[in-house]
Symmetry: C2
Subunit: 205 residues, 2 copies
């Protein structure tokens, strides 16, 4: 059985044409998970935001909210990966590149009234040991982002192991600075992170 037949029009590209019901569900869920986490996000809220009905959700995601959330996290992860790629590509010097990422996040946070940051942090923290499916999706997102940063550090001349460890700390600092910024409603933690991460990267070569 090689099933998987879908309308070619909707499967073709992820972007472009107006979204189908499935895509709208994923998008709406990704936004809600990013802003208020998993438990605080209700199915009703998702359906309203996506303009869909109950049955549609369970048609595309037979396992319900949990399966949809895992898919939404993967969607959000790709989105955030793009932000990192842009920030990293905007400077040759890895130190400047990392600082760019932090400043991009500071911008996104400020202009969204401290709502839009990392798409998995809130969900990941509350789901630990409660949903293997979602925890796994979160873990993969974080590893994907780490690797993006590590690659830039390697290009900058750092040895493989050094780059991997440093990339891990860079991501830690970005995530933590976002927490502090969102809670306090002030982007200075994010801007301090930009400055200090540049210092740290320079000190590591």
């Amino acid at each position: 059985m090689e099933a998987t037949q879908r309308p070619a029009a909707e499967q073709a590209e992820g972007a472009g044409e107006r979204d189908g019901t499935r895509a709208r569900l994923v998008k709406a869920t990704a936004m809600l998970l990013q802003r208020q986490g998993y438990e605080a996000t209700t199915v009703k809220q998702i359906l309203k935001e996506a303009g869909a009905a109950y049955g549609s959700l369970y048609h595309f995601f037979p396992q319900g909210k949990e399966e949809l959330a895992a898919e939404a996290l993967r969607f959000g992860a790709d989105d955030f990966a793009d932000l990192l790629r842009r920030g990293l590509a905007a400077a040759d010097d890895p130190a400047d590149a990392v600082a760019n990422c932090a400043l991009s996040m500071a911008d996104a946070l400020r202009t969204s009234a401290w709502l839009d940051g990392c798409p998995v942090a809130a969900t990941a923290l509350e789901i630990i040991d409660r949903s293997p499916l979602i925890q796994r999706a979160s873990d993969e997102a974080l590893r994907q982002w780490r690797e993006l940063i590590a690659a830039k550090l390697r290009d900058g001349g750092l040895p493989r192991d050094t780059a991997a460890a440093l990339a891990c700390t860079v991501l830690s600092t970005l995530e933590g600075a976002e927490l502090l910024s969102r809670v306090s409603g002030d982007d200075s933690p994010m801007r301090f992170a930009a400055e200090h991460l540049a210092t740290l990267v320079r000190a590591s070569r």
Copy 2:
């Protein structure tokens, strides 16, 4: 055998709190908030964990779960502050002191199966813009910890502003590294943070 049924702590010493039902509620709530956040923690779970009944909760906390959670966050914040104080006091050099804090957190996480870390992070992220009471308690906790770190950096000779900014990033990195460690079930992000934070502090003087 029938000597004293009550702990001697009943003697009121002004503001001293007895280790009674109220204290048990706060303690149980603090633990649950730390591990699974606010929305995932149910009142029933709290009552079972604390060995209390519904009425007792609403007797001590008329505003219910939200009021109890805010109190529990303050309790947990003091607990975590003690961990930081011990880590910071264990070394004269601020760089070593900060690394100590990270390693202490790594220990606590590993020995608790990645459950016990920062007592406010999970709750803070999901509650943003949903409960001013709890968000305020989270913000105050983070500021308290920042100030503990900043004081150590000032003692190490850093100017006031420099110390404040650096303390902010130190706490960001600790929080983010805990996120990565808990999600991946691996304390290396926390240990990398220890190493890199020491490097960063040394590079800042």
